[in-house]
Symmetry: C2
């Protein structure tokens, strides 16, 4: 997606060869018209798949998931990381473990069994694909529910990490809006 790549080049800040800060438009301050276009892009890519729900993980995936869901006219379900009083009494959950590269911690995420079931056709959405842990965790939740996985929409794929290869080998169709080949000496290059 050309507009996103341009935005990454102008507003992204390369911290080192592995870390890209996009907090000015993607995961701290949010550029709403850009999010709307990203949602439309994912819709055009997956609109013929009979998607019934968009699944993401809190927090940074929620906004992209919402703007995508608006085009599909389906609900968003976001996997939650932590218990709260209102959810602790929740009857049954699907749970899985995810390792966060940027936070360097392992955490559990869960989805209530009420909101994922075998009639669902799921599109996964997330802001980053790096080591693939979040996507594989969400795919596991979909599998536990007996739902069908239609594919995954990713805003930025760090193609120099192993996640993209891993999830595609697992049979997941991935649509990444920007695939970063490398960030060497502060310069970002994309895979077309």
């Amino acid at each position: 997606m050309q507009e996103l790549k341009q935005k990454i080049l102008t507003d992204g800040r390369v911290k080192n060869e592995h870390v890209l800060a996009v907090d000015s438009f993607l995961n701290h301050q949010l550029d709403i018209p850009l999010f709307d276009k990203m949602g439309e892009y994912f819709f055009n890519r997956f609109k013929d798949r009979g998607i019934t729900k968009i699944l993401t993980i809190e927090s940074s995936g929620i906004a992209v998931a919402c703007f995508t869901a608006r085009y599909f006219n389906v609900p968003v379900v976001f996997a939650r990381k932590t218990q709260s009083l209102t959810l602790s009494a929740m009857d049954d959950k699907y749970c899985t473990e995810v390792y966060s590269f940027t936070k360097q911690t392992q955490y559990s995420v869960f989805v209530s069994q009420r909101y994922l079931n075998q009639d669902d056709v799921i599109l996964l959405i997330d802001d980053f694909l790096a080591n693939g842990q979040a996507l594989m965790g969400m795919a596991d939740l979909v599998s536990q529910a007996g739902a069908k996985l239609a594919g995954a929409g990713i805003v930025i794929e760090k193609a120099f990490q192993e996640g993209g290869g891993k999830v595609r080998e697992a049979g997941i169709e991935v649509c990444s809006l920007a695939r970063i080949q490398a960030m060497k000496e502060g310069r970002i290059t994309f895979i077309d």
Copy 2:
């Protein structure tokens, strides 16, 4: 907002006199058309205030903030709870402490100084107003930035808790879409 109140009555689950589960449409599975209408409602209420940004706290406020920001055509900034590698090197932050009633924990939230400044006119958005801690924390961030606080849009106010009174006494104009008076014996009553 009549449609929201109706949704609370039909789909909300009263856990006890203090705890209302609205995870089927508000904070786990998200009813996107309803979110869109909530955003439009907040826009109509605050559209004449020169709002430049919507501020919320991750995670449950993000979706409402996004749909509100879409009407205002301004960015969302969401205060973050935890550090990540991409943000740790962030030059300067405004920080404040928030106590979560539903999670019974104290946590820090921060906003990069890049994304809040003295020229901003801020609308706060959150899903719940209960003890008022999250709103007061966000108001503190706005104050630290020297920005102007236009008001706060809340989806569900638990009017039987002290938060609503506290934030209004602090001079914050609050627009709550549904104000719950009580949840006794599983029955929800609203303040009109």
